[in-house]
C-alpha cells in the first residue's frame, strides 16, 4: 500500500530563495507524524509547500497517489489536505460557529456543514459552550481548538498543524494533544510541527528532525529521541 502523503527530494522556497532542499517525507493513512527542528529550519515552508501556499521547486509530492505539483491550494483541500496555519489566522471578529461554517466551504450542503460542526463540537466541548462568542475574545487554547475545528470542517484525511503549542500553557497543550489523538483514531492522519520536543513526540509514531532545510534524522519517535545526536546537534539543547 502506498503512503497517504509522499514527498520525494522535495524542494520549495520563496522567489529566488530556496528554503527546503530535497526532503523525503512520508505520512501513512491514520498516522501521527511529528516534524521538529529549531526555528528557521524550514518546517513552516515545508508545511506550506504541502498545503500549496508555497510553490514547489523540484521533487515530487503525492497525496493518495495524486501528484500535487500544479494543484491550487483549494484543490488540495478538496483532495483531503487541511492546514492549521502558524498564528491560527482565525476570523477574529466572527463567532466560533461562523468560523466553523466558513471552514465548511467545500461541504456540499448546509446539512453536511451542520454535521461536521456537530463532530467538531463533540471533540471540543468548550467550543460548543462558546459557539456564539466572538473568537477574538477566546483564550489562546480555545482559539487553537477553534483553528483545528475549522480545519476539520473540510473533512481532511491529512491534517497539517503548524506550531501547535506556541504561546500556550502546558496544561492546555495536554488537552490539545488528547483531542488530536482522538482525531487520529477517527482516521485522520496528522503531521504536526511542534517546538516542545516532549509534546511533539508523546503521541507521534514517527518523527522527522529538520535542520537548515533538510531532514537530518528520522524514524520511530522512540528511536529519534534515543539518538545520541538528537538533543545536542539537532534540537540545540545542551547536553
Amino acid at each position: 500500500m502506498s503512503a497517504l502523503l509522499e514527498a520525494t527530494a522535495l524542494r520549495a522556497g520563496y522567489g529566488e530563495l530556496e528554503i527546503v532542499h530535497g526532503v523525503d517525507l512520508r505520512v501513512e493513512a491514520g498516522e501521527w507524524v511529528a516534524l521538529v527542528g529549531v526555528a528557521g529550519a524550514g518546517k513552516s515552508t515545508l508545511m506550506n509547500a504541502i498545503a500549496g501556499t508555497v510553490p514547489l521547486r523540484g521533487g515530487t509530492l503525492r497525496f493518495a497517489a495524486t501528484e500535487l505539483a500544479g494543484r491550487a491550494v483549494h484543490e488540495r483541500v478538496r483532495l483531503g489536505i487541511a492546514l492549521v496555519p502558524q498564528g491560527r489566522r482565525l476570523f477574529a471578529g466572527m463567532s466560533v460557529e461562523e468560523n466553523l461554517v466558513a471552514g465548511g466551504h467545500v461541504r456540499s450542503s448546509r446539512g453536511a456543514v451542520a454535521d461536521a460542526a456537530e463532530r467538531a463540537y463533540a471533540l471540543f466541548p468548550r467550543l460548543r459552550e462558546r459557539r456564539r462568542q466572538i473568537v477574538g475574545t477566546l483564550s489562546g487554547g480555545e482559539q487553537q481548538m477553534c483553528a483545528i475545528a475549522r480545519a476539520l470542517m473540510a473533512g481532511p484525511r491529512l491534517l497539517l498543524i503548524d506550531e501547535l503549542s506556541l504561546g500556550l500553557a502546558p496544561i492546555v497543550v495536554d488537552d490539545l494533544l488528547e483531542a488530536l489523538e482522538r482525531i487520529r483514531r477517527d482516521g485522520t492522519a496528522l503531521l504536526v510541527v511542534e517546538q516542545d520536543v516532549d509534546a511533539a513526540l508523546r503521541y507521534a509514531t514517527r518523527a522527522y528532525v529538520m535542520q537548515l532545510g533538510t531532514i537530518v534524522l528520522s524514524g520511530a519517535s522512540t528511536d529519534v529521541r534515543a539518538d545520541p545526536g538528537f538533543g545536542a546537534s539537532y534540537m540545540g539543547i545542551a547536553g
Binding site: R89, F91, E98, A102, E129
Partner: protein, 190 residues
C-alpha cells in the same frame, strides 16, 4: 474616453422612447420599477450574505491565503462577485436610462456620480445592508435639497459629508450605531 466611443450615440447622447401615459402615470410606473429593483438588489445581498458565497467573501477579507486554505477558489469567488455586482448595476442602469429618456456619457461617467457612490459607502459603512441604504437616502436627499435651494453647491455638500463621516464615523455610521447601541456580542457568554 467613453465620450468618444461610438456606442449609444457617443458625445451626442441617445434619446430613448418614453412609455405611453400622462407624466404622473409614467412617474408612478418608474417609481414602482425602481422600488422593485431595490427589493431585488437587497434580496440578492441578503441571499449572498447568508450563503456559502458570503462566508467565502468574509474569508477573502481576512486574506487570499486563508480563504484558499479553507478550500475557497478565490479567483472564481471574485469573478462571481464582480459579475453579480455588474448585473445589478446593469439592471438599475437600464431602468434609469429609460426613466430619464435621454442619456449621454456625463450622466454616469462624470466624477460626481462616482464620488456620490463612494460617499454613500463611506457613510454607510461596510458589512452592513441597512447602513448604505440609509446613507443613500440621506446623501441623495441632501444633494437634492442643496440643488433646490442653493443651486450648484451640491458637490460642496458632498465634501462636507465626507469630512463629517471621516471625523465622526471612521468605520461607517452603521458600525458606529452597532458599537454604540448593540454592543451585545462581544463579551457575551462570559
Amino acid at each position: 474616453m467613453v465620450t468618444n466611443l461610438p456606442l449609444a450615440g457617443g458625445a451626442k447622447g441617445l434619446s430613448l422612447p418614453l412609455p405611453a401615459g400622462t407624466p404622473a402615470t409614467i412617474a408612478t410606473f418608474f417609481y414602482e420599477v425602481f422600488l422593485l429593483v431595490l427589493v431585488v438588489a437587497l434580496a440578492a445581498a441578503v441571499w449572498v450574505d447568508r450563503g456559502r458565497l458570503g462566508y467565502a467573501c468574509r474569508a477573502l477579507r481576512a486574506g487570499d491565503d486563508v480563504a484558499q486554505s479553507l478550500g475557497v477558489d478565490t479567483l472564481r469567488t471574485k469573478v462571481a462577485l464582480w459579475a453579480m455586482s455588474a448585473a445589478l448595476t446593469g439592471l438599475i442602469g437600464a431602468v434609469y436610462a429609460y426613466s430619464v429618456n435621454y442619456i449621454e456619457p456625463p450622466d454616469v461617467f462624470s466624477l460626481g456620480l462616482s464620488v456620490k457612490a463612494f460617499v454613500i459607502m463611506l457613510l454607510g459603512g461596510t458589512a452592513s445592508l441597512l447602513g448604505p441604504l440609509v446613507a443613500a437616502f440621506f446623501v441623495e436627499g441632501a444633494v437634492t435639497l442643496t440643488q433646490h435651494y442653493f443651486l450648484n453647491y451640491d458637490v460642496g455638500v458632498l465634501g462636507l459629508i465626507v469630512i463629517a463621516a471621516v471625523v465622526f464615523f471612521p468605520r461607517g455610521a452603521s458600525a458606529f450605531v452597532r458599537d454604540r447601541f448593540f454592543a451585545r456580542r462581544s463579551g457575551a457568554a462570559r
